[in-house]
Amino acid sequence: MKDAIRRPGYTGVVLAFLLVFPLTILSGVAHAQQAKPTGFPDAPGRDLLLGRCFQCHGDGIWRDHRQDQRGWEGVLYRMVGRGALWTEQEIGTMAGYLATVRGTSTDKTQR
């Protein structure tokens, strides 16, 4: 598994909670496009989030992350640095939704 051995070095870098940026196409990402997201209850911003983020990501990466709106904004703006094209308003809406369903007080068992 040479690839597995070499993967570590991809990083050395800051990196991202989410994995993608425009020129770095990592395996698994394309699979994510077909993944059906689970554990995202109805609330304002849900459809926007699913429409935007699940172009590239599956749902596994989200399950263990809990933070407030500011923290989620930080994540989403980092995705802008990786090529995501969103407006400020969209980022605010998605961060608000994530703070609701993946906030610091949200039960981690929620799926």
Binding site: P8, G9, F17, F21, P22, A30, Q33, G81, L85
Partner: protein
């Protein structure tokens, strides 16, 4: 001048090139002609053989050197090899052949590859037997994936009369080890076959589609004396393969493109390699066609152009924000590396594929129109065919489409600029990596070359433009440890452009030895290490596969933390003779960049070890380290 004379006498360069070389060096044309006249008798004295061919007699190592000169090689990259003694001996009287000693074969090969990519000139990278070859093979793999025309050589330590005895540094069938990674691999059977073996290695490497080749021979061939053989210039054996596309297919492609509702152009590295970016721009403008690029090494289209729509986030066109449903997709010079089951180009689109690499066509993506061609010729022919089909109504539709694309492009530029709105933008100790990237982009020269081996960062804000602006040298192979070496090679080839190497700490530590080459050769490269003391990419990917699992519950990640103790890359750089410093904040960074500029203006390389934040799921402030300590097992204080 001595070098030029030597190259002219050895027939490595033509009369015209000789004159051009002298005038470029500042000699007047009249004086240059005078010098030429003065050495003509010497040249004629050597001219018993036909043009481009000479008979040479000497050691095997000298034959090796002579053929390299005839093959157009200027720089040789190598690591010390005892059995190449006669080759080194031959170098002394052949100053036109410049040997660059690298302290490790891997970064040495990366440096050679960087030189080839940035200069378009041939070179060879030499290793000591199979033991050195093994170190170089990581970069051989990169060259294979990236289709870099790089020739590798290593002798077999075993000599002809004792081979096969499991001798020192001997492995059976050495030349076969590299088989899957090379276009050509051969073991010369006699000393007088050394030049021919080399010629074939250079010919195969430099005939499209490009790729690495490997030449080898038993070490005693280098020592053999009185070897008589032909030395032949590369021009005499190069098939100069430049293929025009099938005219019937060109007409079909042109018709599809002019009739398309929303065509989309994917650009690729064959454009950069053939210096055809401007031709792609011309065709895109003719059709009002949006342009994107799936992963490649170079930026192959001006990113400020109104038809540029950015890169697909997840690699496939389905992840492009715009256009959403292209009906005709035209890829020019892009291999389209697939990392998932979905084709990059959806089956619903008609696909036109123009490349010289026919072997990789049609493997995943069904192709409506294959155009096997040198993309420079191919674009010329296709553009002419499209122009022939243009009507007033088509031009009107093209203009409307171009306006739509321009509108998207303007909105996209505004959204990309939002990166600075991150609430952590001014974070200190450690910094946000996006802030680091942004500051570097503000700092870089308008025509800087960015060598990028910090794979997981988003490379925003640079506005690459291969038509005279900033250039990108990314990687495609991903055998790590190539960045620093590549940057050194690029600077060797392009001494008059600023070269900035961006590298992650994980990648950097695989191949820092090329820093020593930067110091020795006075290659003023600015190396910036994104140092988060972690393998963060694997950290996130592992969590995605094990969401909610034991690692997340306990915080015990075995594979990702490189701190405790933290590595200090500036100290490492100083050990190689390169000045550097650690920076922890944007304010420190700006001052450090100014010092880096001063150093490089003065001809010295510089390194900045930039402390950046670990971001992502489940990173502890002080990450867990596996409790493996030998202290408890020690019974003696030794």
């Amino acid at each position: 001048m001595r070098e030029l004379v030597a190259r002219y006498l050895s027939r490595s360069i033509s009369r015209r090139s000789f004159l051009k070389g002298l005038t470029t060096a500042g000699v007047s044309l009249g004086a240059a002609k005078g010098i030429l006249e003065s050495i003509v008798p010497a040249a004629h004295a050597q001219a018993a053989a036909p043009e481009g061919i000479k008979v040479f007699q000497g050691t095997g190592g000298a034959c090796f050197a002579e053929q390299l000169i005839a093959s157009g090689v200027k720089y040789v990259f190598g690591n010390s090899a005892s059995e190449d003694a006669q080759f080194y001996e031959a170098l002394v009287d052949r100053p036109q052949l410049k040997y660059i000693l690298s302290p490790h074969e891997g970064p040495g090969a990366a440096m050679a590859a960087g030189y080839v990519k940035a200069s378009g000139e041939p070179t060879i990278v030499m290793q000591a037997a199979v033991v050195g070859l093994m170190n170089a093979m990581g970069q051989m793999y990169n060259a294979f994936k990236e289709q870099t025309p790089l020739v590798f050589y290593s002798y077999r330590t075993d000599q002809t009369r004792r081979a096969g005895r499991d001798g020192f540094e001997e492995v059976a069938n050495q030349e076969q080890i590299v088989g899957p990674l090379t276009k050509y691999s051969w073991l010369a059977r006699r000393a007088d076959m050394i030049p021919e073996t080399l010629r074939r290695a250079f010919k195969a490497a430099w005939t499209p589609p490009y790729g690495p080749t490997y030449a080898s021979w038993h070490s005693d061939f280098n020592d053999e004396t009185g070897v008589r053989t032909e030395i032949i210039t590369q021009q005499k054996v190069d098939p100069r393969m430049r293929v025009r596309p099938n005219p019937a297919e060109v007409e079909r492609a042109a018709k599809l493109l002019v009739e398309a509702r929303m065509p989309l152009l994917i650009v690729g590295d064959e454009l950069y390699n053939t210096k055809s970016v401007a031709k792609a721009v011309k065709l895109a403008e003719l059709l009002g066609m949006p342009v994107t690029q799936a992963r490649q090494m170079y930026a192959n289209f001006p990113q400020s152009h109104h038809l540029w729509v950015g890169t697909p986030g997840a690699g496939t066109l389905a992840s492009l924000t715009y256009p959403k449903e292209p009906d005709v997709v035209f890829s020019v010079g892009n291999k389209l590396q697939h990392n998932g089951p979905s084709p990059i180009v959806p089956r619903s689109a008609k696909f036109i594929d123009m490349r010289i690499d026919s072997a990789s066509m049609g493997n995943v993506i069904t192709t409506e129109v294959p155009l096997v061609a040198d993309v420079a010729y191919g674009l010329d022919d296709l553009t002419a065919a499209v122009e022939g089909l243009m009507t007033a109504s088509i031009r009107k539709r093209v203009e409307e489409r171009a306006q739509e694309v321009r509108g998207f492009g303007e909105r996209a530029r505004g959204m990309r600029a939002l990166v600075v709105k991150n609430p952590d933008w001014n974070r200190n100790n450690p910094m946000l990596s996006d802030r680091l990237t942004w500051e570097i982009a503000q700092f870089a020269d308008p025509d800087a070359i960015i060598v990028h081996e910090a794979g997981s960062i988003g490379l925003h804000s640079f506005g690459f433009n291969p038509l005279g602006g900033r250039e990108l040298f990314f990687y495609y192979g991903a055998h790590l440890g190539s960045g620093v070496g590549t940057a050194a090679g690029v600077k060797l080839a392009r001494p008059n452009q600023q070269v900035i190497c961006l590298v992650g700490d994980g990648s950097f530590i695989f191949g820092p030895t090329a820093l020593w080459n930067m110091a020795r050769l006075e290659l003023p490269v600015i190396t910036i290490v994104y140092n988060n003391h972690a393998y963060s990419g694997p950290h996130s990917r592992v969590i995605e596969k094990t969401a909610g699992g034991r690692m997340v519950q306990t915080g015990q990640f075995y594979h990702d933390y490189l701190g405790n103790p933290d590595m200090n890359m500036a100290h490492i750089a100083k050990g190689f003779g390169v000045d550097g410093e650690v920076v922890e904040s944007p304010v420190q960074l700006k001052a450090a960049l100014a010092r880096a500029r001063k150093a490089t203006v003065e001809g010295r390389p510089y390194l900045i070890d930039a402390q950046v934040a670990r971001t992502g799921v489940a990173w502890a402030e002080k990450p867990w380290v596996p409790p493996i300590r030998v202290a408890g097992e020690r019974t003696r204080k030794v």
